[in-house]
């Protein structure tokens, strides 16, 4: 996929984060993070534990309010807007730890993803698409989501995010705790979604796999972006290889 990188180089920006400063009480978690995701891109944000990756995604989707800085989505300044409005504009987040509703059925989880979708026919169509993308999910629709395996839950989390028909999909460590084979399945699905036109911003500790599937990447270190660029170039970079690829 990264070989298609130049295809989207000139595409207009879908998401721009400008100089985000985010604090938890007295702790400043982001010290001015700026990044851009263009239409049609897959962008990866890599960084060690506690670097501020989750904080960045939460700020983009309005769960956290930046102290300084702006979030521009699709040409609109959405800084400080409530999350449900940002989701309504076309941003979806499959959160860290999957955030499944364990006591509800898989179908109920997917229905919640489509909470703002009043059109039942469209809902059926989207459900059908999620089921085609993840046949495992289709088999488990009537099951309590809490009884699913980690990989299946991640598929539900992604499927649920897709049910809101987003133009930008944010993913917070989708491979966390999953077997390599399941991780492959999930990344294959993400590539397929991207080929169909979905823009993706991915947070990963599994930098190797994520960069291989991305157009561009950013490296976050304790609340600051320290590197950015073409995904291939980042994967080759000596510092990145040492710090994040274990080589």
């Amino acid at each position: 996929m990264s070989e298609a990188g130049h295809r989207v180089v000139d595409a207009p920006s879908l998401l721009t984060a400008e100089n985000l400063v985010v604090t938890y009480g007295a702790i400043e978690a982001l010290h001015g993070v700026s990044l851009t995701v263009r239409k049609g891109e897959v962008v990866t944000l890599i960084g060690a534990n506690g670097a501020g990756k989750t904080t960045t995604l939460k700020t983009i989707v309005g769960l956290l309010r930046p102290k300084y800085g702006r979030v521009i989505f699709d040409g609109v300044d959405v800084t400080g807007r409530p999350t449900h409005e940002i989701v309504g504009r076309g941003v979806a987040l499959a959160p860290e730890g999957r955030g499944i509703f364990p006591d509800m059925t898989v179908l109920e989880n997917l229905e919640l993803g489509a909470y703002r979708q009043p059109d039942r026919i469209q809902f059926r169509r989207d459900l059908e698409q999620v089921c085609t993308l993840f046949p495992r999910v289709k088999e488990r629709l009537k099951q309590r989501a809490g009884t699913l395996s980690g990989g299946e839950q991640q598929m539900v989390a992604i499927g649920r995010a897709l049910m809101s028909r987003p133009s930008l999909l944010l993913l917070d460590e989708p491979s966390l705790g999953l077997a390599p084979l399941v991780t492959q399945t999930i990344f294959d699905a993400l590539s397929e979604l991207n080929r169909a036109g979905l823009t993706i911003l991915l947070v990963e500790q599994n930098a190797h796999l994520a960069l291989a599937r991305s157009h561009r990447g950013y490296v976050l270190e304790t609340g600051r972006l320290v590197m950015s660029g073409d995904a291939n170039a980042l994967a080759q970079d000596a510092r990145v290889r040492e710090a994040y690829l274990g080589q």
């Binding site: 769960l63 409530p82 999350t83 955030g99 509703f101 509800m104 229905e111 919640l112 909470y115």
Partner: protein, 304 residues
């Protein structure tokens, strides 16, 4: 045997009242992790709303009828739904980000406010609810009868409880409520306007309390601005007993407390009668010793 059946009917009726109120405690706790201490006072407002509506439209002079009773019920429910929305908006929403202790103190403040303003506006002396139901009795079994108020209480509570159950388990709104109860941030990610759902949860809970307030007055017509204190407390106990946050648990808890209280009044020696209000507490303590989460409560650890 006949006495027992009669007691069961009375207990079920009383239990339905507790159940309707307990539902409001449990729903609000579910979405906000807040014990809404003012909930019993909303129940009191329901009785007053029904009372003044009845006076205003001359129901006390008119011939008793089920339709008029149902009308009173609806008006009181609407009035209290609005009261619930107002309380949430003015008192609870501003302290949502604050500590839970702050929210708890706010709830106690709202409760005291309603009780005192109630005494100032309505007067502290007891009032008597007009007889709006036809005073009939229907034979059930042998000498056992069911009176129209009991019938109204059982029928209305059943309809409301089933309606609420359907709302919670079979509608998008209900899913949103359950999503919020599980995790507020994840619910927001679903595109749910959580403020709106929380406000409506208050409205629904308050409307159910109002229904209880009118229904109870059909059977026990004497009331005053402090009726919400004891009844509210017992309904709260019912909610905890059933497992707070659990809708079915609230109904179960309400029925258990109602039955136990009636049985205690009927079968305990007369000298112990003054202690009938303690029965609910005794049951609560006994059950919590065995099941700290309440009968149907989940063992999920409390969120901070």
């Amino acid at each position: 045997m006949e006495t027992l059946i009669q007691q069961l009917i009375n207990g079920l009726a009383l239990g339905s009242i507790y159940a309707l109120i307990a539902l409001g405690y449990t729903m609000v706790y579910g979405v906000l992790r807040l014990i809404n201490f003012a909930h019993g006072d909303v129940y009191m407002l329901g009785t007053f709303a029904g009372y003044y509506t009845a006076l205003r439209f001359g129901f006390s002079e008119a011939a008793p009828s089920f339709v008029r009773a149902a009308l009173l019920l609806l008006v009181a429910m609407v009035v209290c739904a609005v009261a619930g929305l107002t309380i949430e908006r003015l008192a609870y929403r501003p302290v949502r980000q604050a500590s839970r202790l702050t929210a708890l103190i706010t709830a106690i403040g709202v409760s005291l406010f309603l009780e005192n303003v109630g005494q100032i506006i309505f007067g502290a002396n007891p009032k008597f609810f007009p007889q709006v139901l036809p005073p009939q009795q229907f034979p059930v079994y042998g000498a056992v009868v069911i009176t129209t108020p009991d019938l109204a209480i059982l029928g209305a509570s059943l309809i409301l409880t089933i309606g609420l159950h359907r709302l919670v388990h079979h509608t998008a709104f209900g899913r949103a409520m359950r999503a919020i109860a599980h995790d507020l941030d994840t619910a927001k990610l679903m595109g749910i306007d959580t403020n709106r759902v929380i406000a409506l949860t208050f409205a629904i809970g308050s409307a159910l309390a109002a229904a209880a307030g009118v229904l109870v007055a059909l059977r026990y017509p004497k009331f005053d601005p402090l009726i919400g204190v004891t009844t509210g407390l017992k309904a709260f106990i019912a909610a905890v007993l059933g497992g707070i946050g659990n809708v079915s648990g609230a109904v179960l808890g309400g029925v258990i407390i109602g039955l136990a209280e009636t049985m205690a009044t009927g079968y305990l020696p007369a000298t112990l009668n003054p202690y009938k209000d303690a029965v609910a507490f005794a049951i609560l303590v006994a059950v919590l010793l065995v099941r700290p989460t309440g009968i149907l409560g989940t063992t999920a650890p409390e969120k901070v």
